[in-house]
Amino acid sequence: MKFLLTRAWHNAMKSSSFLAVVVTTLGFSLSALLCVLTLAYLILVEPLPYPDQEKLYRVDHHLTNHEGKSEINAFTYPGLVDFYKNQTEFSLGAMVTYGKDVLTSLPEQPTLNTGYVTPEWFQLLGTSLALGRGFTEEEGLESFIPQAVLTHKTWMDVYGGDSEILDKTVSFSGVNFKVIGVLPETFVEPEIYEVGRQVDIWLPWDYNLSSGMHFLWGNINPMLMYVGRLAESDQGVKAIERSVSMYINDTWQEKNAHVEYYNGWSIDARLTPLADVVTGDVGSIIYLLIIGAVGLLIIACANITNVFISRTANNGQNLAISASLGAKPRDIFRQYFIEYGIIIGFSITFALLLSYFGFVLIQNHLADILPRAGELQINFTTIVCALLLAVLLTSIFALFSVKMINYGALKTMLQSSGKGRGVQVSKGVRTQLMFLQVAVVSILIFANISLFKNAMEVMNKPTGFEYQDTKYLILSISAPEFPMPHEIIPVMDELKSELLALPEVKDVSQSASPLSGFRILATTLAGESTRYTPQNKWVGDNYFSFIGQELIDGRTFSDVDIRDRNSVVVINEQFARELAPEGSAVGTKFDYGNNDIHTVIGVVKGVAIPGESDIPIRSYRPAPESFTSLMVKFNPGQDVSKEKVAEVLSEIDKLYAVFYFDPLESIVAKRLFAQTMTTVVTAFLACLLFVLAGVGLYGVLSYNLHMRRAEIGTRMAIGAKVSDILKMILKNTFSVAGFGMGFAVLVVIFAYLNVPGDIAEFLGGDMVLDLFITLLVISVLTFIACYLPLRAMVYKPVISNLQDNQ
């Protein structure tokens, strides 16, 4: 065994380039598969890290209207509180809701994600705190004791891990909360509202931002939730669901009996296991990822097989010697198994290292899409998968190598004319391998180039407005009672003046940003029934000039329109074209209901929001003077910090805080995240495919050349020049590669003609150019993969090519 190991180690280390090719190729593809398999296990199999997690359920509150249509899954505020107080099916249950608020007790006033819970929340999750304590029963519902529990991340990032943090004060919306605890670093928050949304600070339920709804039995809020641990019971979950439904529905019906609108409506409560809530509906994504990663590994293995074939063929003489000395097929298999085991061991180690970085990438960039991404790490599952894959691949490669050995011929190889027939793959199989290689890689590289170009086009598409050197500012008001508009207007006016007085600031517009969401505002033409649903935005008088959105017809808003809130509207050219295909849309009147008539006073050019393919119909209406969102434009290269704005604001009125203050460019970057990721991933995949294809083609072609070595030697012996040999080999190679490329072209054309419209449109963009680039890339690759081994052959003394045959 020691001899076998030493021999295998020596063989594995013999060629560093061979080792590098196999380890790199397998390393990348295996790491992708390991990442996906670990993620799949985590999401689909591994229990949540909470005590009795199988008994944890979220109560979903489905409203069904009088027509029997399911309306929405959301609790009413008083309905939830009533259920919390009176339910009997859960041994422990907590109310949870979420928000976002400005931490005004710090000078930098960061905006944090807040979570509002009743004290049972941390008990349900079995959380023991790193510092201090959680909320106690006495601090429960309607106790109004302002206390806070920080997450470990907030403690470290915002308070620098201050060991004296307990009993310090944190302020939100004018309330001072005393810090009573810090969660441990290992705490895993169940993301039950939104994947990737992590709470920064936990506050008592009493201070939640929806508490104004506490008496509204007719209003629902999807952020209001109940999570509980089922009590020991002989009843099944369905029976408990029925019981819960009956209680919630009866209560709601009783409270809304006087509201005619809700006649015939009902509530159907459903108990969803917390594990299903957390993982959501990502099963199909996970299976797709597995298919993609397995596909990548198969391509890599096909390429590696070519390299192993070439290596086994080169090793024919040694194998023949072993066979002649009595090595049985089993011994040869064992020899290969150990040798390949060493090589694949290196590959797996490299793959595990890459997986570590893969997990970091997933946590940083895909946490908003993939649930439980934060729990990803190299764990027992990863190691087991890695070992199983190593054994599987080693066995496959060793078996494949042994299969290509004709043991009977091997034994006589040394005594025969030495044509090496003991170890070879038939010409037909070699041709098929090369054909498949070229065809598959051509299709994949074409797909990558198309995806890459598409993403680049979206990223580089002109928006039609200026967003450079501009920040979007949203204010929050930290007052228990929201001020009236006439109280806000002077603050906003003063803030605008103060900001404009700063030397860095070029202009200010009291408008929503062009990149923030539009609101659909249904309208009809006045006196007609034609209905339109344009996207609407509230903007200031200088909005259009501020962002450089061109006016095509009529006029934009005046300061009088803003001050008097005149019933005027500006529309985009797309909307104008619908309203008046030939003439001018200026003067058109819209009815927004209740005889709220607005007149079109201008038409502006449409702007493209980055990441969106079409420009929809849009309308713009005057923003009220109490509008608390502004855009701030700076002189080129200059900027003002959030702290500075907070300081200015604080001097005007301490109740006002900076909720959001970020450059529009960062919003654009976020909106283009998918395209950026696509660009990066496709570029990476294209490079990986290029390497894999190069490795595979090199393997097949160098093996082909190896098999023709004696022929090449003979031709050279009788006078063939290097150029003659090169021409001959290139002609042979490209006749097969050409068929592969031709096949790929046919597949692409077939796909273009037969796939659904959207994909065909995507393919059709610059298909000819993409195909040309693909074929050029493959041709260059084939040439290089062919030329390199040939060059090594033809520039050696001719006799070295003939010797194998002598």
Partner: protein, 238 residues
Amino acid sequence: MKEIIKLTGISKKFETEFMETHALDSLDLTIYEGDYVSISGPSGCGKSTLLSIIGLLDSPTEGSYILDGEDVTTLSVNREAEFRNKNIGFIFQSFNLIDDMSVHDNVALPLRYSSEELTEQQVSEKVQHYLSLVGLEHRAMHKPNQLSGGQQQRVAIARALVNSPSILLVDEPTGNLDSKSGDTIMKLLDELNKNGSTICMVTHDTTYARYAKTQLHLLDGKIVEQNAEPERQLEVAV
């Protein structure tokens, strides 16, 4: 008589990481037009290396080599190919015919690599001429694997002759043949020599070595014995 081959002080060393092997050691050899030389010796004595150097299939580590009046010691790869094509005909032990080409195409191959532009008809005429010389004109369209070993070697001889080379280099021509076929081949080579071809043959078979007018015996990279008929124009120096 015209000197076809003149080797002076030819040495060939093979080096590996751990050892250095002297395959040929300061060897001098001159072969004249019309000679028939056999080189024999024990395995590893350097006879195949010597033939490779004469055939420009390998280059010497030291020494000079004049072929047909031109110094070919340091030629470019392409110029070497031209020399081989024009001046040397090879006959190998394992025939080295190209399996997927017909007998006709195998024989025509040196003409395809020749700088001389020939029409297809001229090529065919030449091929037919040399195939008839070896008695295989009726097998022109056959593939090599449809022929016997002896026939394949005769095809190889026709291919070696087709460009009318200055010298035929023959490496163990009967090594893969039965004795009857071997005899036929040796007679054919003898016939060719009588008709003016210069031949240099490597063989370990002493019976066949006697076909040559001059027999050289190599040991450890040196010519240690020569047995030349007095009228032969061969000079050997050790």
